[in-house]
């Protein structure tokens, strides 16, 4: 009996110590992480719509539909929306900038956990830049008959990015 209780107790103690340490560190880091994420999103909005200086969220039913971007003279220069779709191994979240005539200004991948070296290449500029100037309602990857060139060995990730942008755009188009 003693042989069972002693190891179990020690394991319990180690578990408790580990959880306490993790809880303390989580409490310390969680607000910083949230703040970093907000800053990274603000940065991403500036990347996809560089003309804009101020972004104002457009909210419907407590959800942010998209952001309107205004320049320093507070005239509307475009819109920013974010979208995501499950790629090969993770949700690929993309931020999209639109000009006022509803063409894509630029896009950037905000977060993804795709395969390093294959799907993770969706963050590279060579892939992202081909979206600029296109009509977001008409984008398809090459395998689906469109003109977005898929990443080598990562058609699924490329398709997730492309389809997420198109689907989300079609949903919010009438509200812009």
């Amino acid at each position: 009996m003693k042989e069972i209780i002693r190891p179990a107790l020690i394991l319990l103690i180690i578990c408790v110590i580990a959880s306490v340490i993790l809880a303390i560190i989580y409490k310390q880091t969680a607000p910083l992480i949230a703040q970093n994420k907000l800053m990274a999103e603000e940065q991403a909005r500036k990347t996809v719509l560089p003309e804009a200086a101020v972004f104002k969220p457009v909210i419907e039913n407590d959800q942010i539909l998209y952001y309107e971007g205004f320049d320093t003279d507070s005239s509307l220069v475009g819109y920013v929306f974010s979208c995501f779709q499950y790629g090969y191994s993770s949700d690929v979240k993309t931020m999209v900038g639109l000009t006022t005539n509803l063409k894509i200004s630029a896009i950037t991948v905000v977060s993804q956990m795709e395969t390093p070296g294959l799907g993770a290449n969706c963050t590279k500029l060579g892939f992202l830049n081909q979206f600029s100037g296109k009509d977001p309602a008409e984008i398809y990857v090459d395998k689906d008959g469109g003109d977005i060139q898929s990443l080598t060995g990562a058609t699924i990730t490329s398709r997730a990015v492309t389809n997420a942008i198109r689907d989300t755009f079609l949903k919010i188009r009438d509200k812009l």
Partner: protein, 200 residues
């Protein structure tokens, strides 16, 4: 001299990837490009070193029967701590290395060294062992990544080294390329080891 051997044994004679065939999952998955290999190698070496230190320190407190759950607990807590601290205080580093962190948990080299070495040796030796094994792992994954990146993309560290007319062998950066490369390298290493043995 003996201490130095604890370091060097991980690089060739007991190389975790080529000789002990440990940690193949991250090796196969992340060796698609040299920069990824360096990131994975550095992150894994760091965690390996720290887990070796902690486990060699608490080895006398852990009852034999529950040692494996204890090791896993220490490693998993450590990986999580590293992940959270990096994300909070050095977001750029977390952005480039963050993707490797969940993969470290499945790296059995770390558990393997905890069980086979750190739980039986002192702190100093465990540090050398962790460093040596980490360097051995990093070198192995870099060699595989070098071959795969040159063949599959014609580049090293994203710099083009083969002429633009070279048509990349895409299979090399896909999973089959990983298996074929690692198999051939293991075979080559075995030929050398066998020659050494027959001479001795």
């Amino acid at each position: 001299m003996k201490a130095f051997q604890e370091f060097t044994k991980g690089i060739i004679n007991e190389n975790p990837v080529f000789v002990m065939a440990l940690g193949l999952c991250p090796t196969l998955a992340v060796s698609t490009s040299v920069s990824n290999a360096i990131g994975m190698g550095a992150a894994a070496t760091f965690v390996l070193l720290c887990s070796n230190i902690i486990i060699s320190l608490i080895k006398n407190l852990i009852p034999n029967k529950v040692r494996i759950p204890c090791f896993i607990l220490v490693i998993a807590s450590f990986v999580t701590i590293v992940d959270m601290t990096m994300e909070a205080y050095v977001p750029p580093l977390h952005k480039s290395l963050g993707i490797f962190i969940p993969l470290i948990v499945v790296n059995c080299i770390i558990l393997g060294r905890a069980e086979a070495f750190a739980s039986k040796n002192g702190v100093f030796k465990s540090i050398l062992d962790g460093l040596g094994m980490g360097v051995g792992f990093t070198l192995a994954i870099m060699v595989i990544a070098l071959i795969r990146e040159i063949l599959g993309a014609g580049t090293i560290l994203d710099m083009r080294i083969l002429p633009a007319s070279y048509k990349p062998m895409i299979a090399a950066i896909l999973p089959p390329g990983a298996f074929i490369t690692i198999g051939l390298l293991m075979g080559l290493l075995n030929i050398f080891q066998n020659k050494k043995k027959s001479k001795a």
